[in-house]
């Protein structure tokens, strides 16, 4: 025992000494290269091209990527960055989360790159990281949603499918068609990719006129019991009550269900093409515009990860260089989407992405590029940039799950609103 404690104490001392010398030497390792750590919520392969391209450009900096599973991401960031852990230098920041992270002092101020970012990137993707008039993260990815349909199931039911460039369907229409497909043998009518996440369901309320749920000057007044929220959530609850969608199936299995030909419709992002195209046997599908409520407005989830620099980093310069390369450099931002199907935010990288999108899984994905452009223009709604976004995501996620599982809608929304307001009032 005693030798053990001694060893670990020595190790601690040595670690401390290393950290000290590390500071004074500007973080140079033995061979003169600077090491930075970058964390995100996708498998490492997704970032390999980006890191390789960056290291080729900056041979004196090496980047190590760490994957934190999405469900744990907030917790882990809270624990590590929140505790000023210098072992994370660069991190991906979810849309909507930048204000709450910045207000807790976790992110380094990147305002000096703001002009450059506004010039080279999609405007909305810069806007989502602005809080208190400063820029806290650089745009990285954005996202769009699509209404996927199973062509064979719709044909069997005698339903003419929607098209990528045609009329926008209403949710009521989608459910009717889904039910017809179910009557003709489909197991389910309509699935959502991310069942209980605010990202996926915010557009429902927006389309019905309910707004984002956060109002007031600081976006810290909860408003989720209005007519629009009530209407959209009643509709959402009915999907599960009527068996159009299944209860008790986890979010990560939804695309598998659609890929295996069990559902007529599926609402998901561009990344869904990958699992869907791997169905066994392959299904014949297509993409169409995001539905809206009858008499409502078009609304589509958008936004995705931004890239930020941890306030606790010892390698501010190298970390900022990496974030800058990944966001503002056309080559870097393009490399960031080489292994994953998601739109980049850099304008020139974005154009190249749109061009290749139609060919991702031909002929099923024909027209997807143009559709993405028009939907980003006509329908995109961003997540509210409030310091209370973390709380909102948590409370709303639980409310959505309860509604899906058949709790009374009005009561659940009221309870969620009270709870959220209580949490926001403590901020």
């Amino acid at each position: 025992m005693n030798p053990r404690i001694r060893t670990s104490a020595l190790a601690l001392l040595a670690g401390g000494a290393l950290a000290l010398t590390g500071c004074s030497a500007g973080g140079a390792a033995d061979d003169g290269t600077t090491e930075i750590t970058f964390v995100g919520a996708d498998p490492a392969e997704a970032f390999e091209p980006l890191i390789a391209a960056f290291e080729a450009r900056h041979p004196d900096i090496s980047v190590e990527y760490q994957n934190i599973p999405f469900d744990q991401y907030n917790n882990v960031i809270q624990q590590r960055v929140g505790a000023k852990d210098p072992s994370i230098d660069v991190l991906l920041v979810d849309a909507g989360a930048s204000a709450s992270m910045a207000s807790r002092g976790w992110l380094a101020d990147l305002s000096k790159l703001r002009d450059q970012a506004e010039e080279s990137s999609i405007a909305a993707s810069v806007e989502q990281s602005v809080w208190d008039d400063e820029l806290w993260a650089l745009p990285f990815w954005t996202s769009a949603q699509y209404l996927y349909y199973n062509a064979d199931l719709l044909e069997a039911a005698g339903v003419e499918p929607p098209t990528a460039d045609g009329e926008r369907w209403t949710w009521e229409q989608v459910v009717d068609a889904g039910k017809q497909a179910q009557a003709a043998g489909a197991e389910y009518g309509l699935l959502f990719d991310q069942t209980d996440r605010y990202y996926q369901l915010q557009p429902l309320a927006e389309s019905a006129g309910g707004g984002s749920g956060a109002t007031g000057p600081d976006l810290l007044t909860a408003d989720i019991t209005n007519e629009g929220w009530q209407r959209s959530m009643d509709w959402y609850a009915s999907l599960f009550a009527d068996g159009v969608a299944p209860r008790g199936v986890a979010t990560d299995q939804m695309n598998v269900l659609f890929a295996s030909g069990k559902s007529a419709f599926f609402v998901g992002g561009p990344w869904s093409v990958d699992p869907i195209s791997k169905g066994e046997p392959p299904i014949s599908y297509g993409v169409a515009k995001n539905p809206m409520f009858e008499g409502g407005t078009p609304a589509m989830s958008t936004g995705s990860w931004s890239i930020g620099v941890s306030a606790a980093t010892d390698e501010l310069e190298a970390a900022t260089a990496f974030a800058e390369f990944a966001s503002l450099d056309p080559e870097g931002n393009a490399a960031a989407v080489e292994q994953i199907i998601i739109p980049p935010t850099n304008l020139s990288a974005f154009d190249a992405y749109i061009e290749r999108l139609d060919k991702t899984d031909e002929p099923n994905t024909a027209g997807m590029g143009q559709l993405t452009l028009s939907e980003l223009q006509d329908a995109a709604v961003s997540r509210p940039n409030t310091v209370g976004f973390t709380q909102m995501q948590d409370v709303m996620g639980r409310a959505f799950a309860d509604i899906r599982n058949g709790q009374p809608v009005g009561e659940t929304l009221q309870k969620a609103q009270d709870e959220l307001q209580g949490l926001w009032d403590r901020l």
Binding site: N75, G105, N405
Partner: protein, 278 residues
């Protein structure tokens, strides 16, 4: 004293210091912010106990204990009584009952989580028997019970072993005397087995209460406290407050509440463990 040193060092570093830390944080607000927060007295406790959310957490945790502790006790006792009988292949049967103890809680949770799916094997069996399929984890009435079943799958075997050991320690002479009196099984059970098993039973109740109040893994992996808060046990609530919502002080206040409860129960347990010496 050198022999005790390592244990004492660990005792201070791993128990005393964090407990004091929790106590201090429970009296402050804004510990996570840059300035370190300020003392607010018992405000956190007042907020917590007035909060309908926390009241419901306490109610759910209480209900959970009231079902799982007696439930596991009865099932374990029945099993223990069966497994001291002369059964062919007794050793193997005991092993089968005991073997789930080896499964880490995360394993049991993940496997049962799949079994509870709407189109999972349990509903397949129900359907084959002509019964309606059940919603399990998605229903406010069944979610807590579903978690209790999966935790009991691990727990019951463990407690059964204690009870078997207890049964085997009851002196045979007592039963021989009862046989001379012409007592049947039920009378022997009430007048000999139960009274002599009293201490073991009490031990199982206390130890089970302590381990059950800390149930966390199934909630975190399967239900996140839902549906409608019906499985929001205290450990999950404090974890969620601390890490998901970032309110360290509220989380630590809950730790203090939990500790007070545990220290009381553990003191009882210690007295029971220690009684034989005095």
């Amino acid at each position: 004293m050198l022999f005790l040193l390592p244990a004492l060092v660990l005792l201070i570093a791993l128990r005393i210091v964090p407990m004091l830390g929790a106590a201090v944080d429970s009296l402050k607000q804004g510990s996570a912010s840059a300035d370190g927060g300020e003392f607010v007295g018992f405000e956190n406790f007042a907020y917590l106990f007035a909060d309908p959310g926390f009241q419901s957490v306490l109610a759910v945790t209480g209900l959970f204990l009231l079902i799982i502790v007696p439930g596991q006790l009865v099932v374990s006792l029945v099993l223990a009584l069966l497994l001291v009988e002369r059964v062919p292949g007794l050793g193997l049967v005991r092993v089968l009952v005991f073997i789930p103890v080896a499964a880490p809680a995360a394993v049991a949770t993940v496997v049962w989580g799949i079994a509870y799916q709407p189109k999972g094997p349990i509903n397949a069996t129900l359907t084959a028997l002509g019964l309606p399929p059940q919603p399990f984890l998605t229903s406010t009435d069944q979610a807590l019970l579903s978690i209790i079943v999966l935790m009991s799958w691990i727990g019951v075997g463990y407690w059964t072993l204690f009870l078997i050991a207890g049964l085997q320690d009851i002196p045979r002479e007592l039963y021989e005397a009862a046989a001379i009196d012409g007592a049947g099984w039920w009378r022997a059970f009430w007048s000999i087995t139960l009274p002599n098993l009293r201490r073991t039973l009490a031990f199982v109740v206390v130890a089970n209460t302590v381990s059950s109040v800390l149930a966390f893994v199934p909630v975190q992996i399967l239900t996140q406290g839902g549906p409608a808060g019906s499985t929001r046990l205290i450990m999950y609530d404090l974890y969620n407050n601390t890490f998901q919502l970032g309110d360290v002080n509220l989380g630590q206040t809950e730790v203090v509440v939990l500790l007070v409860f545990l220290i009381a129960v553990t003191a009882v347990q210690f007295r029971m463990l220690n009684r034989e010496e005095h």
